[in-house]
């Protein structure tokens, strides 16, 4: 059994959950994790990890600049903007 710390998971995802939802998600996430845990029973000794099912190389491009999107386009979906910046609630480290 793997326990889910729903407080930690929601903190890492920056999601605010009320008590009812927290209980619900804690239960369903635990179920998924425990189901996936079945894979741990397989003997993978000596098996090379498969990072991608196609087993091909990554595509490469030349190091050249193509036109980027305009500042207006980039900011067009921003809920708040100012002086060509995105404006967000204060985040200070």
């Amino acid at each position: 059994m793997t326990d889910i710390n729903i407080k930690k998971v929601s903190y890492l995802a920056k999601l605010k959950l009320n008590d009812e939802k927290a209980t619900k998600y804690e239960k369903s996430l635990s179920e998924i994790i425990n189901w996936v845990d079945n894979l741990k029973k397989l003997d993978t000794e000596g098996t090379k990890p498969l990072h991608n099912i196609t087993e091909k190389n990554t595509n490469l491009r030349e190091d050249t600049v193509k036109k980027n999107n305009s500042t207006e386009e980039i900011l067009s979906n921003a809920p708040e903007k100012a002086q060509n910046f995105f404006r967000v609630p204060k985040v200070v480290e």
Partner: protein
């Protein structure tokens, strides 16, 4: 160290790769543009956009691999490092974790007059994040995504450093090497090279203490201050019987102190997993060989060459190799073989450096005057002009692009080496100086310098000091 405490440090250096475009998008990799001007939908983390790897970044990583004695791994994998922050629009940083592109290298540094090997654990490719600006508005942070996706090579050392001097020597060497192989522009002020310092203290022969990580340092001066402050702080905590809490710290440049970063209610959990948008990188032997050909000479190789083959003093050679552009300027001066390497070197680190420092310009800005500098130094070497006059002409050449040969003729500055003429001047300088002459005859060498100076003044700096001095000795010793 205070009461026998030893400092143990390991470094994580982030080098921004000098490429045209970003790691996974074709936006310009450029510093100093208007906010959100070098951004496309991939960088902005728009849904459905797919990253495509920049092959130039692989070449730069391979070159770094050779220069820092790394093993170059033919197989490496990009993974997602998940964390939430306003300047990371994807919600994760694409980095390498279990399968980095480079492993097990080393750099040699000078430490207390001997060579010390700093072992490197790994180096991996990753994206930079955007920039948050906190001081425009009291209630809001402002986000500029221009830096998002800038290619970084993170170079991770083993905990092999025991003093601030070693850390700074290492960073100096690393910066030089990366600049020589054209991997990084080395501009620390612009953040092209930044270091995280992991620091702990321990008593001799005891196991490692709990470490703290000082984040994002980009100035040698502040790195030294931060190491001094943090090691002292840890020693004080331990000596008063308390424990060090493992923490991520920021160095506050205004107070000279380290302080913990906020938002650490839970330890970070980055939940790495292979990025399904990117296939693994397989590097062919052919690509490795091709990148190797482009490395060129490393700073240490140049240093050896300058000292052993050209006969330069070690200290002077070190100054010349300290920046790639200095070394190239110097090699340009001597490539014609018209002047001696030693002459070129001493004029370069002397008057030419003071000139560019005074004018606050880069050496490359006087690159087009190399030919005239060579002509000038030839005139000095041949004895046509004295070095005193040479210094004045150099300024004319550098400032006004004057032709040294013409200038010497126009102003009649040829060095006077004519014995008869100089003899007259020497005689004049000696008249009425009976007291000083006696002093010299009773063994005071200083008086000779006085007379040479007097004669030079009489020739307006044009007299050949060697001949003057010989004449003086001959006359006074009589």
């Amino acid at each position: 160290m205070i009461n026998d405490w030893e400092i143990v440090m390991g470094l994580e250096v982030h080098a921004q790769l000098k490429t045209e475009s970003k790691l996974f998008s074709s936006s310009p990799n450029q510093f100093g543009s208007d906010p959100n001007n070098n951004v496309n939908y991939i960088d902005a983390g728009m849904p459905g956009m797919l990253p495509v790897m920049n092959s130039g970044c692989i070449d730069k990583a391979i070159k770094t691999g050779f220069a820092l004695n790394f093993k170059i791994n033919p197989y490496s994998v990009f993974e997602r490092k998940n964390y939430f922050y306003a300047d990371l629009p994807q919600g994760y940083q694409i980095s390498q974790f279990e399968y980095p592109i480079l492993t097990e290298g080393f750099v040699e540094i000078e430490s207390e007059n001997s060579l010390k090997k700093i072992r490197l654990e790994r180096a991996h490719l990753e994206q930079d994040a955007g920039k948050s600006i906190h001081d425009i508005d009291p209630k809001y942070s402002f986000i500029d995504l221009n830096r998002v996706g800038t290619p970084l090579l993170e170079i991770v050392s083993y905990p092999d450093f025991s003093s601030a001097d070693e850390v700074i020597n290492y960073l100096t060497n690393l910066r030089q090497i990366l600049m020589y192989i054209d991997v990084c522009d080395g501009n620390m002020q612009e953040g092209s090279l930044r270091a995280d310092i992991n620091l702990s203290v321990k008593k001799p022969n005891s196991k490692l203490g709990t470490r703290c990580e000082i984040k994002n340092m980009n100035s040698f001066k502040f790195i030294r201050q931060a190491i001094e402050y943090e090691s002292k702080r840890q020693i004080e905590v331990l000596e008063s019987g308390n424990k060090i809490e493992q923490n991520t710290l920021l160095f506050d440049t205004s107070t000279g102190e380290t302080r913990p970063m906020r938002s650490k209610e839970f330890a970070h959990d980055y939940r790495y997993f292979p990025d399904p948008d990117l296939l693994p990188i397989n590097i062919s032997q052919d690509q490795i060989e091709k990148a190797k050909m482009k490395i060129g000479e490393l700073p240490n190789q140049k240093l050896t060459k300058f000292i052993d083959d050209l006969g330069l003093e070690k200290d002077i050679a070190k100054i010349i190799i300290s920046e790639k552009q200095y070394a190239e300027f110097f090699e340009g001066l001597i490539s014609t073989k018209l002047i001696k390497a030693k002459t070129a070197a001493s004029w370069l680190v002397g008057d030419i450096f003071s000139f560019i420092k005074d004018k606050n310009i880069q050496i490359n800005e006087i690159l087009n005057k190399s030919q005239k500098i060579i002509e000038l130094l030839q005139l000095v070497e041949k004895g046509t002009i004295s070095s005193k006059v040479g210094k004045d002409i150099l300024i004319e050449v550098l400032e006004k692009n004057k032709d040294p040969g013409l200038l010497v003729k126009e102003l009649g500055l040829e060095q006077v080496s004519d014995n008869e003429e100089l003899e007259k001047i020497v005689d004049e300088s000696l008249s009425g100086e009976e007291e000083n002459i006696q002093k010299f005859q009773s063994g005071s060498d200083r008086v000779l310098g006085y007379f040479v100076g007097k004669c030079l003044k009489a020739t307006k700096g044009k007299g050949n000091p060697k001949i003057i001095s010989d004449l003086l000795i001959k006359k006074i010793k009589k």
